[in-house]
Symmetry: C2
Subunit: 455 residues, 2 copies
């Protein structure tokens, strides 16, 4: 350790209580995006907390909740983005909280409140890291910092993508720290490098103007059968998706990706037990099971037609509906896949079927060799005394792309204060105070080193 990191670490140990108090102040202010409760007051509080540090703040109104943006210049031209959000999930069911959700309390070394872990404590940990780095450099900051703190993450971030596209110039930066980093169940620091994209569509089939008596099933066109056959056509028994051109551009895992995947802990038997899975798709197991995340998917979220109540109803259903999601790997584009799906259905004779896009998110993946990734991993090893778990691509999706792509394909990583037991979105949400300290130290080291890593 050099003397700068010593000064950072001791600053954060010494001042820890101050930042826990600041987290209390922020968590005591409700900010429920689902209902709107306290949103404006919380946006004001976030602005205040940034301005107290002489950060230049601008509040952007959106069709939804305001986005708070903060800029602070550094010695280097290079700028590091912090993406966080000030809104929280609704606290219900209230009776399951040990203490009231908006009256923060410390119990057994952990900080409890709605929003503690997701994402107010983490936001304050960034402020702590920033303060520590400035203190270690006698008031100077080695690189610039850009804060983007939105207020609609818990309702699906409906406005952030457009906001970023429209404000590319003032959001210029060279890398970012996403919300929600931390350690795994065994306290090992973990880092996710990539997220799959998603295209969700609703497919509606109508074959008659009303349901008909099933005595006519030998001649009447059934919407249920038509939908079943359409779906069966969409994906082969080998799980290959049959849309023409679906896989073009889909990037296979690199050899580093494969190494990283194989190094991940084996959670196969945990999933089998936890979800009661007897056999994975296509009989996958071992290395092949880990690698399968690089296969894009065609999943049925829901399918419905006809009568599902007690007993029976002798009908041929006139309409049927399915919600389908495609998880897309890097190199695939949900808009392009949507067009190809529509074209393919036409080719198969399903041109009459209604296909409505419900949601699109783009894939995003940072290179395992990116300097910011290497910095994040090496500093995590210093702070946690353990090597990081690095997941090259996770099965889910993230709005990371909405920042990374328009801002020039900047690398974005996550580091933070969370652990899997934190009851995020549930009653008794919390973070462990020890994690707050290590997470702040980790982020401070990244901030300290970001100016000098090569791109």
């Amino acid at each position: 350790m050099n003397s700068t990191t010593d000064r950072i670490d001791s600053y954060l140990s010494r001042e820890l209580d101050k930042y826990i108090d600041e987290t209390s102040r922020l968590c005591a202010q409700p900010s429920i995006s689902a209902t709107g409760e306290g949103i404006d007051a919380c946006a004001v509080l976030v602005s205040d907390m940034l301005q107290e540090r002489a950060i230049r703040v601008q509040r952007f109104e959106t069709p939804g909740n305001p986005i708070i943006v903060g800029w602070l210049e550094g010695v280097s031209e290079r700028t590091l983005l912090f993406y966080n959000h000030y809104d929280v999930q609704p606290p219900e069911p209230l009776e399951l909280w040990t203490a009231p959700p908006f009256e923060p309390v410390i119990r057994d070394g952990a900080f409890y409140a709605r929003g503690a872990a997701d994402d107010k404590g983490e936001f304050v940990s960034r402020l702590a890291a920033l303060d520590a780095v400035r203190s270690a450099h006698e008031g100077e900051l080695p690189c610039g910092v850009l804060f983007v703190v939105e207020g609609e993450e818990e309702v699906g971030s409906p406005t952030i993508a457009e906001f970023v596209r429209n404000n590319k110039d003032i959001l210029r930066c060279h890398g970012g720290i996403w919300e929600f980093g931390g350690v795994d169940l065994n306290d090992r620091p973990q880092l996710t490098l990539g997220y799959r994209g998603i295209l969700t569509v609703e497919i509606t089939v109508e074959t008659m103007v009303m349901d008909a008596h099933s005595g006519g099933a030998h001649m009447l066109p059934s919407a249920a059968w038509r939908l079943v056959r359409l779906l069966e056509r969409l994906k082969g028994k080998d799980e290959r998706i049959q849309i023409e051109g679906f896989y073009s551009g889909a990037a296979p895992p690199s050899s580093i990706d494969l190494e990283l995947l194989h190094a991940l802990p084996d959670n196969e038997s945990w999933i089998r037990e936890h979800l009661g899975v007897k056999e994975f798709v296509s009989g996958l197991s071992g290395k092949a099971l880990k690698e399968a995340v690089f296969n894009p998917t065609c999943n049925i979220q829901g399918i419905g037609s006809g009568y599902l109540g007690e007993g029976m109803k002798t009908i041929v259903p006139a309409s049927a509906m399915a919600k389908i999601d495609f998880r897309l790997v890097p190199g695939q584009d949900p808009e392009d896949i949507f067009d190809k799906l529509k074209t393919q259905l036409g080719v198969w004779g399903y041109g009459d079927v209604e296909v409505k896009p419900i949601a699109m998110m783009w894939p995003a993946k940072v290179d395992p060799d990116d300097p910011l990734v290497r910095l994040t991993v090496s500093t995590a090893e210093e702070v946690y005394n353990r090597t990081s778990l690095i997941d090259p691509l996770t099965g889910g999706s993230s709005p990371v792309y909405a920042m990374a792509n328009p801002l020039g394909g900047i690398p974005i990583v996550a580091a933070g204060i969370n652990y899997p037991g934190g009851r995020v979105h549930a009653p008794d949400e919390h973070f462990r105070i020890a994690d707050f300290l290590t997470g702040s130290r980790h982020v401070a080291r990244i901030l300290d080193g970001f100016a000098s890593v090569e791109e």
Copy 2:
């Protein structure tokens, strides 16, 4: 016309008001099997109406509503069965009735009340026919008569089949008149010779103990996909059902069946318009469309899995369910088909899937050349002055089999007072009084002639 039929016809004209009054008396007594309202009082009334005619009556208690059985001996050993029911559908919505449903009223030559057409007026028309034939023969009856009047037809006749099986000896008869005969939209007498059987099953697939995040769709077994693939396997794109042995024993149409089918009026364009059908199954039309009723079916009554609400829910569904009905042609047996389905699913690797039988009805079909059929058709021509429409097999199912099969495969036909405009099961249910008269005359002629037709 011979003098017996003259006497029958003039008796029925002369005494018409008396039978309308008797229908009023019966319809004024509610008898709603869905709620139990008035059932017992109506069963008593039916017994009384039979006993007033010196018919020997026995009331059979069942797990549900009582069944009233009446016997009357004739000159011949041969006995004709009348199957009717004294229960009715609930009258709701009451506000849509022009007059209260249990206060019978005559308007514009039609008799309005709940149960008028289905099936109380028709039951009284049988009594009228019986009285007319006895009167024409000075008190004697050429053949014996057996009445079976049940009280649960409107809730699916759950007890009648077992009752018949357990009482075969005392229900001995040589042919039967089913409820619900009459004329079509063009006042042409119509006769259905056969009904398809039905097997309804509920298929439940479970692949996990709970729904999982769709980010795992590349590896997690989806109940929705498993069900879709099972269904697709069950029936080929050519509509052939793929269960081993499904078609064995299924009787194809005879050459007379085909002649009768082709002689039926063409309702193809009416169905297209009424149901908004663009294309029939397999592109059927013309003669092939009419003949298709002899194809047994595999129909999806309903299918459901996962999320169907607004927007989306990124899950892999853990469970999925479908209700399937198979309509079976003469020669097929729903119990046998159920066993074959279970076996086939095992062979295909779906042994873990739950398959629950929901309902079974057997096919039933009378030979177009049967003497009772010929008698019914020839007497209809006398009464209506028109040839009958004869449907050799209708797509739907009927409890006819529950009498015809255990009683030695007796021929059963329908004749009666109904027309398609009678608003059966709906507010303002009614029959036309002219139809009551012709229907009674028709049934009286069948009763009069039944002793002397050859078997």
